[in-house]
Protein backbone atom coordinates (compact mmCIF):
# COMPACT_ATOMS: atom_id res chain seq x y z
CA UNK A 1 0.00 0.00 0.00
CA UNK A 2 1.36 3.44 -0.86
CA UNK A 3 0.97 6.21 1.65
CA UNK A 4 -0.56 9.60 0.96
CA UNK A 5 2.10 11.77 -0.69
CA UNK A 6 0.51 15.13 0.12
CA UNK A 7 2.60 17.43 2.25
CA UNK A 8 5.91 15.92 1.23
CA UNK A 9 7.23 19.24 -0.13
CA UNK A 10 5.93 21.42 2.69
CA UNK A 11 7.48 21.79 6.14
CA UNK A 12 6.60 19.03 8.61
CA UNK A 13 4.04 19.84 11.34
CA UNK A 14 5.94 17.88 13.99
CA UNK A 15 9.59 16.87 14.19
CA UNK A 16 11.92 15.10 16.60
CA UNK A 17 15.62 14.29 16.36
CA UNK A 18 16.77 11.28 18.37
CA UNK A 19 20.32 10.13 18.86
CA UNK A 20 23.07 9.62 18.07
CA UNK A 21 22.11 6.03 18.98
CA UNK A 22 24.49 4.46 21.49
CA UNK A 23 25.16 0.86 22.47
CA UNK A 24 23.92 1.74 25.95
CA UNK A 25 20.60 2.86 24.47
CA UNK A 26 20.26 -0.44 22.57
CA UNK A 27 20.93 -2.36 25.81
CA UNK A 28 18.34 -0.23 27.61
CA UNK A 29 15.81 -0.88 24.83
CA UNK A 30 16.45 -4.65 25.08
CA UNK A 31 15.49 -4.47 28.75
CA UNK A 32 12.71 -1.96 28.29
CA UNK A 33 11.02 -3.66 25.34
CA UNK A 34 11.51 -7.35 26.11
CA UNK A 35 13.23 -7.82 22.72
CA UNK A 36 16.39 -9.68 23.68
CA UNK A 37 17.61 -10.55 20.19
CA UNK A 38 21.43 -10.48 20.61
CA UNK A 39 22.02 -8.86 17.17
CA UNK A 40 21.12 -5.57 18.87
CA UNK A 41 23.74 -5.71 21.63
CA UNK A 42 26.33 -8.39 20.92
CA UNK A 43 28.74 -7.63 18.01
CA UNK A 44 29.69 -11.34 17.78
CA UNK A 45 26.03 -12.36 17.38
CA UNK A 46 25.55 -9.61 14.77
CA UNK A 47 28.59 -10.85 12.81
CA UNK A 48 27.28 -14.41 12.96
CA UNK A 49 24.06 -13.09 11.38
CA UNK A 50 26.06 -11.54 8.53
CA UNK A 51 25.99 -7.95 9.82
CA UNK A 52 29.13 -5.82 10.26
CA UNK A 53 28.01 -4.71 13.74
CA UNK A 54 24.92 -4.53 15.96
CA UNK A 55 21.86 -2.80 14.48
CA UNK A 56 19.18 -0.81 16.28
CA UNK A 57 15.73 -2.31 16.89
CA UNK A 58 13.25 -1.11 14.24
CA UNK A 59 10.73 -0.71 17.04
CA UNK A 60 13.14 1.67 18.86
CA UNK A 61 12.80 4.14 15.98
CA UNK A 62 9.05 3.46 15.95
CA UNK A 63 9.21 4.46 19.63
CA UNK A 64 10.84 7.76 18.59
CA UNK A 65 7.87 8.38 16.26
CA UNK A 66 5.50 7.57 19.15
CA UNK A 67 7.43 9.98 21.40
CA UNK A 68 7.16 12.73 18.76
CA UNK A 69 3.38 12.23 18.66
CA UNK A 70 2.81 12.08 22.44
CA UNK A 71 5.07 15.15 22.93
CA UNK A 72 3.08 17.10 20.35
CA UNK A 73 -0.49 15.87 20.84
CA UNK A 74 -0.71 14.43 24.37
CA UNK A 75 0.29 11.32 26.29
CA UNK A 76 -2.82 9.32 25.32
CA UNK A 77 -3.61 10.92 21.96
CA UNK A 78 -2.44 8.16 19.63
CA UNK A 79 -5.29 6.08 18.18
CA UNK A 80 -3.42 4.38 15.36
CA UNK A 81 0.15 4.00 14.23
CA UNK A 82 1.20 2.07 11.14
CA UNK A 83 4.89 1.68 10.42
CA UNK A 84 6.75 0.19 7.48
CA UNK A 85 10.36 -0.77 8.16
CA UNK A 86 12.54 0.41 5.30
CA UNK A 87 16.17 0.29 6.36
CA UNK A 88 18.65 -0.52 9.08
CA UNK A 89 19.70 1.91 11.79
CA UNK A 90 23.24 1.72 13.15
CA UNK A 91 25.11 2.86 16.24
CA UNK A 92 25.94 6.56 15.86
CA UNK A 93 22.96 7.33 13.62
CA UNK A 94 20.74 10.32 14.34
CA UNK A 95 17.11 9.52 13.55
CA UNK A 96 15.10 12.47 12.22
CA UNK A 97 11.38 11.97 12.72
CA UNK A 98 8.82 14.03 10.81
CA UNK A 99 5.05 14.14 10.70
CA UNK A 100 2.96 15.85 8.01
CA UNK A 101 -0.75 16.42 8.58
CA UNK A 102 -2.68 14.98 5.64
CA UNK A 103 -6.21 15.25 7.03
CA UNK A 104 -7.73 17.22 9.89
CA UNK A 105 -11.13 16.25 11.21
CA UNK A 106 -13.21 17.58 14.07
CA UNK A 107 -12.03 14.87 16.47
CA UNK A 108 -8.83 13.52 14.98
CA UNK A 109 -6.09 14.19 12.52
CA UNK A 110 -4.10 11.90 10.25
CA UNK A 111 -0.39 12.33 9.70
CA UNK A 112 2.08 10.85 7.29
CA UNK A 113 5.21 9.87 9.16
CA UNK A 114 8.79 9.27 8.21
CA UNK A 115 12.03 8.62 10.03
CA UNK A 116 15.28 9.30 8.24
CA UNK A 117 18.98 8.80 8.82
CA UNK A 118 20.57 11.45 6.60
CA UNK A 119 18.45 11.20 3.46
CA UNK A 120 17.78 7.47 3.89
CA UNK A 121 14.19 6.57 4.89
CA UNK A 122 14.31 3.95 7.64
CA UNK A 123 10.61 4.06 8.59
CA UNK A 124 7.51 5.36 6.87
CA UNK A 125 3.96 5.26 8.04
CA UNK A 126 0.77 6.93 9.12
CA UNK A 127 -0.75 7.92 12.44
CA UNK A 128 -4.18 8.95 13.61
CA UNK A 129 -4.20 11.12 16.73
CA UNK A 130 -7.13 12.47 18.74
CA UNK A 131 -7.54 16.24 19.00
CA UNK A 132 -9.43 15.98 22.28
CA UNK A 133 -6.47 14.83 24.37
CA UNK A 134 -4.15 17.63 23.34
CA UNK A 135 -4.05 19.79 26.42
CA UNK A 136 -5.78 17.29 28.69
CA UNK A 137 -2.44 16.43 30.21
CA UNK A 138 -0.63 19.69 30.08
CA UNK A 139 0.39 19.89 26.41
Amino acid sequence: MSEVAAGAESAPDVTLNAGPITRTQLALYCGGSGDHNPIHVDPEAAKAAGLPDVIAHGMLSAGFLGRMLTDAFGASSVLKLKIRFGGMTNVGDVVSCRGYTVRTGERERELRLEALVGDRVILSGIAVVANVNAGADGH
Binding site: G32, M59, G63, G66, A75, K80, L81, F85, A136
Partner: protein, 147 residues
Protein backbone atom coordinates in the same frame (compact mmCIF):
# COMPACT_ATOMS: atom_id res chain seq x y z
CA UNK B 1 6.26 -21.42 0.17
CA UNK B 2 4.08 -21.50 3.23
CA UNK B 3 0.97 -23.63 3.38
CA UNK B 4 -1.99 -21.27 3.22
CA UNK B 5 -3.99 -23.64 5.43
CA UNK B 6 -2.37 -21.76 8.34
CA UNK B 7 -4.64 -18.77 7.55
CA UNK B 8 -7.12 -18.56 10.41
CA UNK B 9 -4.92 -20.49 12.85
CA UNK B 10 -5.17 -18.92 16.28
CA UNK B 11 -3.59 -19.23 19.70
CA UNK B 12 -3.74 -17.64 23.12
CA UNK B 13 -0.58 -15.64 23.83
CA UNK B 14 -1.19 -14.92 27.50
CA UNK B 15 -1.81 -12.13 29.98
CA UNK B 16 0.45 -9.52 31.55
CA UNK B 17 0.05 -6.64 33.98
CA UNK B 18 1.34 -3.24 32.86
CA UNK B 19 3.49 -1.85 35.66
CA UNK B 20 4.57 1.79 35.99
CA UNK B 21 8.17 0.55 36.31
CA UNK B 22 7.91 -1.12 32.86
CA UNK B 23 6.74 2.15 31.31
CA UNK B 24 9.59 4.04 33.03
CA UNK B 25 12.26 1.65 31.66
CA UNK B 26 10.79 1.89 28.17
CA UNK B 27 10.53 5.69 28.43
CA UNK B 28 14.18 5.96 29.43
CA UNK B 29 15.21 3.75 26.49
CA UNK B 30 13.38 5.86 23.87
CA UNK B 31 14.26 9.16 25.54
CA UNK B 32 10.78 10.13 26.75
CA UNK B 33 11.13 13.00 29.22
CA UNK B 34 7.41 13.74 29.74
CA UNK B 35 6.96 13.22 33.52
CA UNK B 36 3.49 11.76 32.91
CA UNK B 37 5.17 8.57 31.63
CA UNK B 38 7.82 8.52 34.37
CA UNK B 39 5.97 9.31 37.57
CA UNK B 40 2.58 8.17 38.84
CA UNK B 41 2.10 11.37 40.85
CA UNK B 42 2.71 13.52 37.75
CA UNK B 43 0.17 11.43 35.82
CA UNK B 44 -2.42 11.91 38.58
CA UNK B 45 -1.73 15.65 38.76
CA UNK B 46 -2.48 15.74 35.00
CA UNK B 47 -5.86 14.11 35.69
CA UNK B 48 -4.94 10.60 34.54
CA UNK B 49 -5.70 7.50 36.67
CA UNK B 50 -2.05 6.32 36.47
CA UNK B 51 0.97 6.35 34.15
CA UNK B 52 -0.28 5.83 30.58
CA UNK B 53 1.13 3.26 28.16
CA UNK B 54 3.24 4.77 25.34
CA UNK B 55 1.62 3.72 22.04
CA UNK B 56 4.34 1.39 20.72
CA UNK B 57 4.66 -0.29 24.13
CA UNK B 58 1.57 -2.38 23.28
CA UNK B 59 3.86 -4.31 20.92
CA UNK B 60 6.45 -4.79 23.72
CA UNK B 61 3.79 -5.88 26.19
CA UNK B 62 2.57 -8.52 23.77
CA UNK B 63 6.17 -9.78 23.37
CA UNK B 64 6.61 -9.92 27.15
CA UNK B 65 3.35 -11.89 27.53
CA UNK B 66 4.40 -14.40 24.87
CA UNK B 67 6.25 -17.48 26.15
CA UNK B 68 6.53 -19.02 22.66
CA UNK B 69 6.68 -16.18 20.14
CA UNK B 70 8.11 -18.25 17.27
CA UNK B 71 5.63 -21.13 17.54
CA UNK B 72 3.59 -20.30 14.41
CA UNK B 73 6.74 -19.89 12.32
CA UNK B 74 8.20 -23.18 13.53
CA UNK B 75 4.94 -24.92 12.66
CA UNK B 76 5.00 -23.28 9.21
CA UNK B 77 8.57 -24.51 8.67
CA UNK B 78 9.97 -20.96 8.41
CA UNK B 79 13.69 -20.59 9.11
CA UNK B 80 13.86 -17.77 11.61
CA UNK B 81 17.04 -16.26 10.13
CA UNK B 82 15.02 -15.65 6.92
CA UNK B 83 12.28 -13.77 8.79
CA UNK B 84 11.99 -9.96 8.66
CA UNK B 85 9.54 -7.65 10.40
CA UNK B 86 8.13 -5.70 7.46
CA UNK B 87 5.28 -3.64 8.89
CA UNK B 88 3.69 -3.01 12.26
CA UNK B 89 0.28 -1.55 12.85
CA UNK B 90 -0.89 -0.56 16.34
CA UNK B 91 -4.48 0.45 17.05
CA UNK B 92 -5.66 1.69 20.42
CA UNK B 93 -9.38 1.69 21.15
CA UNK B 94 -8.74 3.54 24.41
CA UNK B 95 -5.79 4.65 26.57
CA UNK B 96 -4.22 1.93 28.73
CA UNK B 97 -2.85 2.73 32.20
CA UNK B 98 -0.39 1.12 34.60
CA UNK B 99 -2.13 -1.39 36.85
CA UNK B 100 -4.19 -2.90 34.05
CA UNK B 101 -3.81 -6.53 32.98
CA UNK B 102 -4.11 -7.21 29.25
CA UNK B 103 -4.63 -10.56 27.52
CA UNK B 104 -3.49 -11.21 23.96
CA UNK B 105 -4.84 -13.60 21.32
CA UNK B 106 -3.21 -14.15 17.93
CA UNK B 107 -4.65 -15.15 14.55
CA UNK B 108 -2.89 -15.63 11.23
CA UNK B 109 -4.82 -13.18 9.05
CA UNK B 110 -3.20 -13.80 5.68
CA UNK B 111 -0.37 -15.57 3.85
CA UNK B 112 0.67 -14.56 0.33
CA UNK B 113 3.62 -14.45 -2.01
CA UNK B 114 5.30 -11.88 -4.20
CA UNK B 115 8.20 -11.79 -6.66
CA UNK B 116 7.39 -15.24 -8.14
CA UNK B 117 7.52 -16.85 -4.72
CA UNK B 118 10.88 -15.40 -3.74
CA UNK B 119 9.14 -13.59 -0.87
CA UNK B 120 6.38 -14.88 1.39
CA UNK B 121 4.31 -12.60 3.58
CA UNK B 122 2.55 -13.57 6.81
CA UNK B 123 0.11 -11.17 8.44
CA UNK B 124 -0.65 -11.82 12.10
CA UNK B 125 -3.40 -10.02 13.99
CA UNK B 126 -3.17 -9.85 17.77
CA UNK B 127 -6.12 -8.55 19.77
CA UNK B 128 -5.61 -7.15 23.29
CA UNK B 129 -8.48 -7.26 25.79
CA UNK B 130 -8.78 -5.97 29.35
CA UNK B 131 -9.86 -7.83 32.50
CA UNK B 132 -13.50 -7.45 31.44
CA UNK B 133 -12.60 -9.06 28.06
CA UNK B 134 -13.35 -5.75 26.33
CA UNK B 135 -11.00 -4.89 23.43
CA UNK B 136 -8.40 -2.20 24.12
CA UNK B 137 -6.35 -2.45 20.94
CA UNK B 138 -4.81 -4.60 18.26
CA UNK B 139 -1.47 -5.27 16.62
CA UNK B 140 -1.14 -6.29 12.99
CA UNK B 141 2.34 -7.49 12.09
CA UNK B 142 3.48 -8.22 8.54
CA UNK B 143 6.44 -10.55 8.36
CA UNK B 144 8.51 -11.09 5.23
CA UNK B 145 10.22 -14.42 4.60
CA UNK B 146 13.02 -14.60 2.02
CA UNK B 147 12.52 -18.01 0.37
Amino acid sequence: MINRSFIGASRTIGSIKLEASMVRLFAQAVGITDEIFLDDAAARTAGLPAVPMPPTFLFCLRSMADKDSTRFFREMGVRLERLLHGEQEIELDRPVYAGETLSFDSTIADIYEKADGKLSFVREKVVAVDEGRLPVGSLISTFVIRN
